[in-house]
Symmetry: C2
DNA sequence: TTGTACGCGTTATCAT
DNA sequence: ATGATAACGCGTACAA
C-alpha cells in the first residue's frame, strides 16, 4: 500500500505538504503542488479513509433508515440520497426498519454503534420524542411522514396540501362520496392525520361533509390491506363513488380488491393515490396520484443533515417538498 | 469520547485485556472479564470503528452495485444483502449503475477509491472481462444475470431452468404460440440468452418450434418497453396465444399494452414473467412468475464475498439459486 | 493470564 | 511556503 510518506519521499517534500495538496488546501506553491501531483499519479497513491476518519473523529458514513427498501418509493429515495451524499464525500448505509417501532429504535442505536456521522430517518410508527432523548445525540434529520420532535430538522412531504389537491380533483371529476382509505394513527400530527386533514379540507371547500362510513381504516399500508378494505367496503354495501388511498401501494390493493368484485375503475368508481410510483403509470388502470419531488427531498435532507454534522447550529427547521398532481386513467373516462 | 484506556483504567486492567474482552477472545479469566464488562457498561464505551479499520487495514464496508434501486427486485435484494452482511459485521453501501456499462465501471472504480473490502456486482450490460482486469483486484462476486468472468465467483439465477419451467406451464395451459419478450443481447451466455434457451427447450420438449416472428425484441427491461412490444405485436397482427416476458416488470408493461388494445388476460392470451415481485400478486390480473429464492441468493453472495475478503482461496465457483413457479390469474381462467 | 511499547496513515500545531 | 512532531484509538508482538 502506498502511503503519504511514500509520496512525500518521492516528491521530496514532507507528508504535510502532500496532505495539503490532496485536500486542496492553500499555502502550497504551484511548483511543489505540481510535483506532488505527479508523484501521486506515478505511485498510484490513494488516501486511506480509515486513517483520515480516525484522525478527524468522523466516520464519513451517514445512515438512511427507511421502512422497506423493496417499495419503489424508498428505493428511489435511497438512490437519490446516495448520489447527493456522495457529492459531499459521504457514504450512505441504508437500513430497513420494517415499518416497525423496534426497527426505528434499532436504527437509531445502530447509528451509534456503527459510528455514523448522522442519520436520515423516515419513521412510520415511532413516537420519536422519547426514544431520541434516550438514544441520544447523533445528528438526525427526519424524513417524510411523521412530524419531527422539536430540535430536529424535518423534510416533510406535502401531506395535507397534496391530499387536498387530489381530493379536489376527484370532486371536479364528479365524485360526491369519496372514501378515504387510511391506516390507524395515534396522535394528531402524523402523516395519516395530515392527509386526512387535506381530504377534509377539500370536502369542506366543496360544501360536502366527510361521512364517517366513508372512512376505511386499514392496518399496514400495503397492497393486501388496500385489497381487504375494498372488499369490506363493497361487501357492506358502501355507496362510494371514489376512493383516495393514502399511498399508491394501498391504491393498487384497492383497485385489485375492486376488480375482485367486478367493480370497474374509473367507469364505476374513481381511485387516486399518493407517491406517484413508477408502477402507477402502468397499472391497469393507470393511477392518478400526488407526485412529490423526490430529488428535491433527497437533496435537502442530505444537506440539512450534513450541516448538522458539520456543527452548523441554527434553529431546527421544517421544509415541505413541492409536488404535482398527475392525473391518469383511474380518475377519468377512457 | 470514552476510549479503551478509559475502560482499562476504570476496570484496573490493561487496554489489551479490554480489547480481548471486547472481541471475545480467550485468555481472560472470568472474573476479569466480568469486571471489564461492567466498566464498559458504566462508561458507555463503544469501539472506534475507524481505529480498528486503520489497524486492521480493512474498511469493514462492502459495496453492492445494482442496476436500479427503485426496482423492487433490487430493493429487496439490497435489504437482504444488508442483513446478511451485518450478521458478519460488515456495512453495505448500495450503488446504482443505471443499468449502463459506464455505471458498472464506475462502481468498480469506486470500490477502490472508497476503499471497500469487496464488491457485489449485479451487472447488466458490461462485458466484465476486460474492465476487471484493468480495474484490478478488489474481491468481487458477480450476482444475478450475466455470467462471471473466470476467476470470480458467481451467484446465478435459475435463468434457463426457471424459464423452461414457466414456459412448460404456459404450454400445459393450452398455449401453442408463446411469444418471448426479451431484450437485445450480445454474446451467448447472458441472462437474456439463458432465458431464451430455457424457452426454446420447453418448446422443443413439447414438439413445437420457436417461430421467429414470436420473438419480440425490446430495449431496456422496463414497463415502457413491454408496453410498446405488446402494441407492436398486436398492431402487426401477431397471433400469439401467450407471452413470456423476461422480467415481471416487462410483463407488467405487456399486460398494460394488451389492455390498451382491449386484449384481456388470461381470457384472450396468457402472460407470465420472471422475478415474482411483490406487485405481481396484486396486479390486475395477478401475474404468474418464476420466483427465485432471494434470501438464499443474498446469503450466499455475501458469504462467498466475505470468504474472498478473508483471503480464503479455493477455485472460483458458480452456484444457482433455487426457484419456484408461482401460478396466478394471468395463466388461468378466473 | 496480563501488561508495555510501538505502529497503522493522517492531520493539527507549532516552528522555521 | 514548508517541515517536524505529536496525537487520534486500537491491535500485535513480545515481555513479564
Amino acid at each position: 500500500m502506498v502511503t503519504m510518506s511514500d509520496v512525500a519521499r518521492l516528491a521530496g517534500v514532507s507528508t504535510m505538504t502532500v496532505s495539503n495538496v490532496v485536500n486542496d488546501r492553500s499555502g502550497v506553491s504551484d511548483t511543489v503542488r505540481e510535483r506532488v501531483r505527479r508523484a501521486i499519479a506515478e505511485s498510484g497513491y490513494r488516501m486511506n479513509v480509515s486513517a483520515r476518519n480516525l484522525r478527524s473523529g468522523a466516520s464519513g458514513v451517514i445512515g438512511l433508515a427507511v421502512p422497506e427498501l423493496n417499495r419503489p418509493y424508498f428505493g428511489a429515495l435511497a438512490a437519490r440520497v446516495t448520489q447527493w451524499a456522495r457529492k459531499h464525500g459521504y457514504r450512505v448505509v441504508v437500513e430497513e426498519t420494517g415499518a416497525r417501532v423496534e426497527g426505528e429504535i434499532a436504527a437509531i442505536q445502530l447509528s451509534h454503534a456503527l459510528d455514523y456521522d448522522g442519520l436520515l430517518l423516515s419513521p412510520v410508527g415511532l413516537d420519536l420524542e422519547r426514544e431520541l432523548v434516550r438514544a441520544g445525540s447523533r445528528p438526525l434529520v427526519v424524513l417524510g411522514e411523521r412530524p419531527a420532535p422539536s430540535g430536529y430538522d424535518h423534510v416533510a412531504l406535502p401531506n395535507s396540501e397534496g391530499t387536498e389537491a387530489v381530493t379536489r380533483l376527484l370532486l371536479e371529476r364528479g365524485a360526491r362520496r369519496v372514501a378515504l382509505v387510511r391506516g390507524r394513527s395515534g396522535s394528531g400530527e402524523d402523516m395519516l392525520s395530515l392527509r386526512h386533514k387535506g381530504y377534509r379540507r377539500a370536502l369542506d371547500a366543496a360544501g360536502l361533509t366527510a361521512a364517517p362510513e366513508l372512512l376505511l381504516e386499514i392496518g399496514p399500508l400495503d397492497m393486501a390491506s388496500g385489497r381487504e378494505a375494498a372488499h369490506r367496503a363493497l361487501d357492506s354495501g358502501l355507496d362510494a363513488d371514489a376512493f383516495f388511498a393514502v399511498t399508491d401501494t394501498v391504491a393498487f390493493g384497492v383497485i385489485r380488491g375492486l376488480a375482485d368484485r367486478g367493480v370497474r375503475v374509473p367507469d364505476d368508481v374513481l381511485v387516486a393515490g399518493f407517491d406517484d410510483l413508477e408502477e402507477s403509470e402502468y397499472f391497469v388502470p393507470s393511477l392518478t396520484s400526488v407526485s412529490p419531488d423526490l430529488d428535491w427531498t433527497a437533496q435537502h435532507a442530505v444537506e440539512l443533515l450534513l450541516a448538522r454534522v458539520r456543527g452548523e447550529g441554527g434553529p431546527s427547521g421544517r421544509i415541505v417538498a413541492p409536488f404535482d398532481v398527475v392525473e391518469r386513467e383511474s380518475t377519468r373516462g377512457r
